[in-house]
Symmetry: D2
């Protein structure tokens, strides 16, 4: 919006004084005029305070390790998680206004005690293994490439069964839930409730079969019952999309760009009500179109090197790096090597509220 003040003849000194008294009386009565701030409140298009930013894995991981040496994990602080704080959001531990992203670090043989909360959570593993997250009593192995769910109000704790530390990424809707005053939290057991270390969780044994659902579970659930989306399935799906493209069949999002969305098999929709998660694979040398969309997103490079062009600025990334893309920021991804990217966003919130918009821009080059 252009002008923030109504066009009007120059006020007299008496008028100015009367206006000042009016504004003071407004303030005294907890009132604020719209006309002095319309442009900020209601911009022509989204004008986020959040900024595009990259956190490098080679910086993140050593800091997490130092935290592992200095800070115990346990009841009260609950998790050794270090949040990525968007530099535009005034120091709050939010990667976007709605999303939380953190690196979580668990030392050898450590346990993060059980609790549950209304916030939806997931983990994504870019390296390492040996931790089991126990979700409502079901032990779920965490391994490289796996995407793991802890939907709202499910008890969960983690324990490291090995002599090596492990770190991974947590994604949650903490900022959204905090802002909207919808948070509930409850402590659970100090230890994880089942210390078994199976390869597959019970949830996967019930649910991770393509197109098949157990007859004993026919309800639609708010979140996906598949506790773990394993790398082998994700990798195979992406490989087959690119092979289909090679054979001349429509399968990819755009040339050289394969992608899957993690979904809730009881609905076909997103894994959790507030969070969308996807995995993208770009062939070496390929690039996406430049896209804007309502809602904010975070990428983690799973493998390879490339460049994210965000509102025109180039950001080079390598394995493990995390990148935040604010709402309506123009985003283009260029793969140098083949590039594998995990992505999550808050889009389901806005699709459900009919606030979602997207635009594809002309290639600027």
């Amino acid at each position: 919006m252009a002008a923030a003040e109504p066009a009007a003849p120059q006020p007299t000194p008496e008028e100015e004084a009367a206006l000042a008294r009016l504004y003071a009386d407004f303030a005294a009565q907890n009132l604020t005029p719209l006309w002095t701030q319309l442009g900020d409140l209601m911009p022509a298009h989204p004008a986020p305070q959040a900024r595009p930013h990259v956190w490098e894995w080679q910086t993140l991981y050593p800091l997490a390790r130092r935290a592992g040496e200095l800070v115990p994990v346990g009841r009260g602080g609950e998790r050794r998680a270090i949040a990525l704080a968007n530099p535009g959001l005034g120091g709050r531990p939010y990667i976007t206004p709605t999303l939380w992203a953190a690196i979580q670090y668990l030392g050898p043989r450590e346990t993060a005690p059980e609790h549950r909360h209304s916030q939806n959570a997931f983990r994504f593993v870019v390296e390492g293994e040996g931790v089991w997250t126990v979700v409502d009593g079901d032990p779920v192995a965490m391994r490289r490439g796996d995407f793991l769910l802890t939907p709202g109000w499910h008890f969960h704790g983690h324990h490291n069964t090995t002599d090596a530390p492990m770190a991974w990424i947590d994604g949650l809707d903490i900022p959204f839930v905090h802002y909207t005053d919808t948070a509930f939290f409850e402590f659970g057991a100090d230890e994880v409730s089942d210390r078994a270390t199976p390869d597959l969780s019970r949830a996967e044994r019930l649910w991770a079969h393509p197109g098949l659902r157990p007859l004993s579970r026919l309800e639609r659930t708010a979140a996906s019952p598949i506790a773990a989306y394993r790398w082998e399935h994700t990798d195979r799906a992406l490989t087959q999309q690119l092979e289909l493209e090679d054979e001349g069949h429509p399968a990819t999002v755009e040339p050289g760009h394969a992608a899957v969305r993690y979904t809730n098999p009881t609905t076909g929709g997103d894994v959790m009500p507030t969070i969308r998660a996807e995995f993208h694979r770009l062939r070496a040398g390929s690039a996406t179109a430049t896209r804007r969309e309502v809602g904010s997103a975070v990428y983690q490079v799973f493998d390879g090197t490339g460049t994210l062009v965000l509102d025109g600025a180039e950001h080079r990334v390598a394995t493990g790096d995390l990148v935040v893309v604010p709402s309506w920021c123009a985003c283009r991804i260029e793969a140098e090597s083949g590039l594998d990217l995990f992505r999550f966003s808050d889009t389901p919130i806005f699709e459900g509220l009919h606030q979602y918009r997207a635009a594809v821009e002309e290639d600027p080059r």
Copy 2:
């Protein structure tokens, strides 16, 4: 309903004559009184004309082979399919009022030409292999234990690539579509449009990954895009349910009874709008509860021996046998050996219309 005539004093001869004239005048005007037939039209509970019945595979298969020797397959008749005609339905080729079930037979090197129709169809393979069904140009291998979809208005043809014949079961909603006057049909190519013989269809390569959907296909579709549900996945899902039961976790429908429903990954619902399909596995010696439900169902024994108790009558079955269970018929299944059963029904029609009911009966013994 008890009485079909309203309770009334005995009519006089004059009244009887007047009534006869009235009924004749009704008939002349294409009118029919309700009061003479209420009980039949509106019974206290479903009173199907369709009857429980078993067709034995050892009878069916040789008849299909004789048809293979005597009747060519091709344009016009289109398919060498022999329908199971419920003995209660007056000779119409309907296994229930809504469902069609047939054995289809394709000789060595034969082709069934392409066509499409509004009727929804599937195939289930109880033995053999070597035929590819080509659905909208996508070749889909048919092998023992596979469940294969041809949803309404998809072109499809079949061809046998081997020197041996192959037979399988077709299930369709032909009677329902016929009765409701909603049928459309179109001829396609005389040959199948792609003679490739891949292990996996393109549909599976895009879609048969647990909880993952291609980002290039985000619409909800009326029918499942998974062309083939492979036996290895079905078998593994059932095995894991029984293992979970052994470990003390809830997973099965009832003790000793594992089951999966084939679903549409874009919705979590049934594979096609009019047809539900499931696979059931009973441990040796186990039995289901006695259940009634609105809507009709067909079972095919995939493996093993057992007994279906239908409205109290025992029907012994073995591999390949087909059994029809009419609406509201009390059904109990007893496994002698371990018993694997494919099942399909018209239930989605009635769930959507809020006409569905089910009841579990006390064990009669």
Copy 3:
């Protein structure tokens, strides 16, 4: 479909004998070949047995009155309802394969006892008043132009509070429910459970306010909770559509053709799961396009005269006449005077099952 037999060389006498034996063996085993009847079973487009037909009110009403003199109403026969039997459906009391339409007649002071059934029912009143239908204990006045609901499994009875008879039209899904074996029925009280005669039912007082729903009733219900859609609202809505058209605003279906659909305020969808109901008003001299649609429909002329052109044949109609339009029958309506038409159909069944299709034809003149 063209040929119903596969093209093949002329069989030898031996082959013919073998084929005859095969067909006999099929019959003995309750089997029927597809190839001898494909064209009938799976036509190129719907080929209903039901035929377009008109029942004249001036014939119907006197027959109903004669029934009123000769046939008592009461427990057993339950209703003095005379069904319109489509001349193409072999004498069954079905106006289409899915729909029941009947004239119901209640003499002075008579009562039709309470019962409930899974079939969905409505009444539409083309003339008269003085009967209350009592639906789950709520007395609902019946007056000219009113559309009244008795959704499945609601107890209901009727009683005539006056010294004059009254007749109206019943519409139900009896044939569909009968064919699909989904019928349940239960007797209720011999008398109506509340003999009050209020102008408005309790259901209307709770629900018949535009865009407002009671906070004590927030569930979605399978059927509309508005027991009565009053003529004054229907008439006003149609009048305003035509006035908007006169003022140059889009409001009508096509020039001169106003129409409303009766809906369920808890969903915005059809009043009952299996039945759609609408009211149409054509200006004098106007006509609709020629339309075909999947599913069958019944019109009753509420007021005026005109012509229905059904598959090319002209049928002149006047107030009270009922007309059946089978599935996929081409239908054009021409108004002589202004023409008010009540219409009901089975379309919701087919929309939900993704079987619905419609086509608008070029004006043939």
Copy 4:
């Protein structure tokens, strides 16, 4: 949550220094530890910064009138709207974190120019008349008791056709849209696009008929197409609920408490995706239960006097007063006279995201 720091032995000075270096390095890398702020971020139940508060109409209205004398309305500032700023929200013009409420004032013959925005808006009129709001070219009269919609992305302007000023309440989702970076805005005409002053908008003539929808408008729409919910309908619906209660029939929310929800007739759901609106009527001397619910709400007293007990504190209110109830605040309403209350809230956001909870408390007295 109890402790915000993990329980641990007292650190040594060296450890303290190392920790301080670690926290500094975190800050330098835009990182923030979870363990120092878990309790604030993830409380045991919602702990809003927003506070319960009352704005008195007798204070609000004179301030709006003074603004009318001093501040022109027109392009740029667009609206003479004075926002109610929750005293807990640091001076931002938000009545809750998600909702905007303002008094808007339009002097005699003034016009507020047309624009559109992605924010959803409504108006509610507690006194006065003579302004028409023109929504996508459709003039909508504003009168006492009316609830008027301007859903997102509809052009709208207002003009006062009289020689008297008029003030009303605006409700929008501005804070939510601002926080989530989903705002779009576009200027329209400087004048309203249709200066006609009809009693009923075209939207009402098409849509405001109970249970009837125009056949020319069959799509589900994100927001209600009923531009205006008139007082006469609201009042009648509430009156009839209380009469039904008097007659012994279930109709009210609780004894003496009638209420309606304004709904979208194309879905049966809320009028707009982010905003719920209701009208409540309490009999003199009655009271509601004490309720908490997730999400924030605003009440305006339409008529009468009473008390809102919010987290135990009593707030006396009279006609025109506005009261904000933050998320999870315990709320009980006591009517002195009969009490009519308009209410709006952000609940639909949370219901769709499965974050909604509510609780009814024991009467504390």
